[in-house]
């Protein structure tokens, strides 16, 4: 029975692909760290990419999935001051801070205008998970934590047609990963967020 459903599902998927109802998007992602992520690493991230598949249900709506990778890092030499009751602690050392975020999400998008328009604004929402690895290096010491976070990613963007099958995509996506586990600094608020600025190529499938 399961195989039967799988074949039916695959048939639908193939139909979608060959009916030019499918859009594959490959993007280069930059990101501005925000919230607790921004407190940990303030540097803008120039390293990130994502793959996305969007299947159109009609002229204005698509549903699909995305996988991405964003890398944040920073070298900091500032003093760390820790206040614990009667004790005052100061730490000096070269700190290397890293956050690797891997969003894996189901997405839905709404497109304005018609399919053949050369300029199509769209709005979308991603729901799924972020696998986030935080690393803190100081001297010969290392602390690393990794957690699966539930997350949401609202997005707004435009598609600019280059040809019948290829479009340029620009989008801004707010990535919010809800708190999960403990942050690398021991804090129980381990929500992570960043504003992604993405440029990509979208290929319509035949």
């Amino acid at each position: 029975m399961k195989i039967k459903y799988l074949i039916i599902a695959l048939m639908f998927l193939s139909v979608n692909i060959f009916a030019q109802n499918f859009l594959g998007v490959l993007s280069y992602n930059t990101a501005l760290p925000m919230g607790t992520t921004g407190d940990y690493i303030s540097d803008f991230s120039w390293k990130g990419f994502s793959f996305e598949g969007r299947s159109f249900t009609n002229r204005n709506w698509s549903f699909g999935g995305t996988f991405g990778w964003n890398i944040f890092d920073q070298k900091i030499t500032d003093l760390i001051e820790i206040d614990e009751g009667d004790k005052g602690t100061t730490v000096k050392g070269t700190q290397l801070r890293y956050v690797n975020s891997f969003p894996i999400m189901a997405t839905g998008h709404y497109y304005m205008g018609k399919r053949k328009d050369s300029f199509r604004p769209f709005f979308g929402l991603g729901i799924g998970t972020y696998y986030i690895i935080q690393r803190f290096d100081i001297g010969v010491f290392r602390r690393e934590v990794s957690n699966w976070h539930f997350g949401l990613a609202p997005e707004a963007g435009i598609l600019l047609a280059l040809s019948r099958t290829t479009s340029l995509m620009f989008s801004v996506k707010y990535n919010y990963a809800f708190s999960a586990g403990v942050a690398v600094d021991g804090s129980t608020d381990n929500s992570q967020s960043y504003l992604g600025f993405n440029i990509g190529l979208a290929f319509a499938g035949y």
Binding site: F49, K87, T90, K92, L162, L201
Partner: protein
């Protein structure tokens, strides 16, 4: 695919995605940027003080004029991993910093001429063995440990296991409050300030790294100054 090609017309569009993908891959050789750290970047200075202590009231100090090696064996006074070469430099740098902060040294303390503060210095050497499980490719970061020749087809080799050993030295500077220690009903020493300096051993620039980190310990503890 032929129809596609005709429709698209321009050849560059066919290669654009490939170039794009290639550019992406080039920019992500590693998820952890190697900042090209030097041995000095691995030095860490930690200082801690008791906020209830009035450091301004201390004016004189005495230094125990040798560095204790922590050996884990009471019959051994010298650690195998540490050298005595820098003992004098360590002690003189600490002394200079104390004098710079306004303290007066009492070289030969007596019951009648007690110092306010006693400074002791201890050192610990640690060997750290780190094991790498290499990938199938002689990636940029793995290359120095990879056993094969670069000319060989890399995927042919099984994953490589490597070991690297490094030595870490830790210096403990303790600042004893003499009056408080002598009057302490618990018979325990009172240490209102200490510094812990940690770094790689035998990695070059030992003298400047030692003096630099000791200076840093005092610099980040301005409350130690004599008023």
């Amino acid at each position: 695919m032929k129809t596609d090609f005709k429709r698209n017309g321009k050849i560059w569009q066919r290669y654009l995605p490939v170039l794009f993908l290639f550019a992406l891959m080039l920019s992500f050789t590693s998820c952890y940027t190697d900042y090209g750290l030097t041995a000095a970047d691995y030095d860490v200075v930690v200082t801690q003080y008791d906020k209830n202590t009035d450091f301004g009231a201390f004016k004189t100090f005495t230094m125990i004029d040798s560095v204790f090696h922590i050996t884990g064996d009471t019959t051994e006074s010298d650690s195998d991993l540490l050298t005595r070469k820098y003992d004098k430099l360590i002690l003189s740098t600490i002394r200079e910093n104390m004098i710079k902060y306004g303290y007066t040294e009492i070289k030969n303390p007596t019951d009648q001429n007690k110092p306010d503060v006693v400074i002791t210095v201890q050192a610990l050497g640690t060997q750290v063995d780190q094991y790498y499980s290499g990938g199938w490719y002689p990636w940029y970061g793995w290359y120095p440990w990879w056993g094969g020749y670069p000319g060989y087809y890399p995927g042919y080799y099984p994953p490589y296991m490597g070991k690297s050993t490094y030595y870490v030295g830790t210096l403990f500077i303790d600042y004893f409050d003499v009056a408080a220690s002598l009057s302490n009903p618990d018979n325990a020493y009172v240490i209102p300030w200490y510094a812990t300096i940690n770094g790689l051993l035998e990695s070059g620039q030992s003298e400047t790294r030692l003096t630099g980190t000791i200076d840093q310990a005092f610099e980040q503890s301005p409350y130690l100054k004599v008023k």
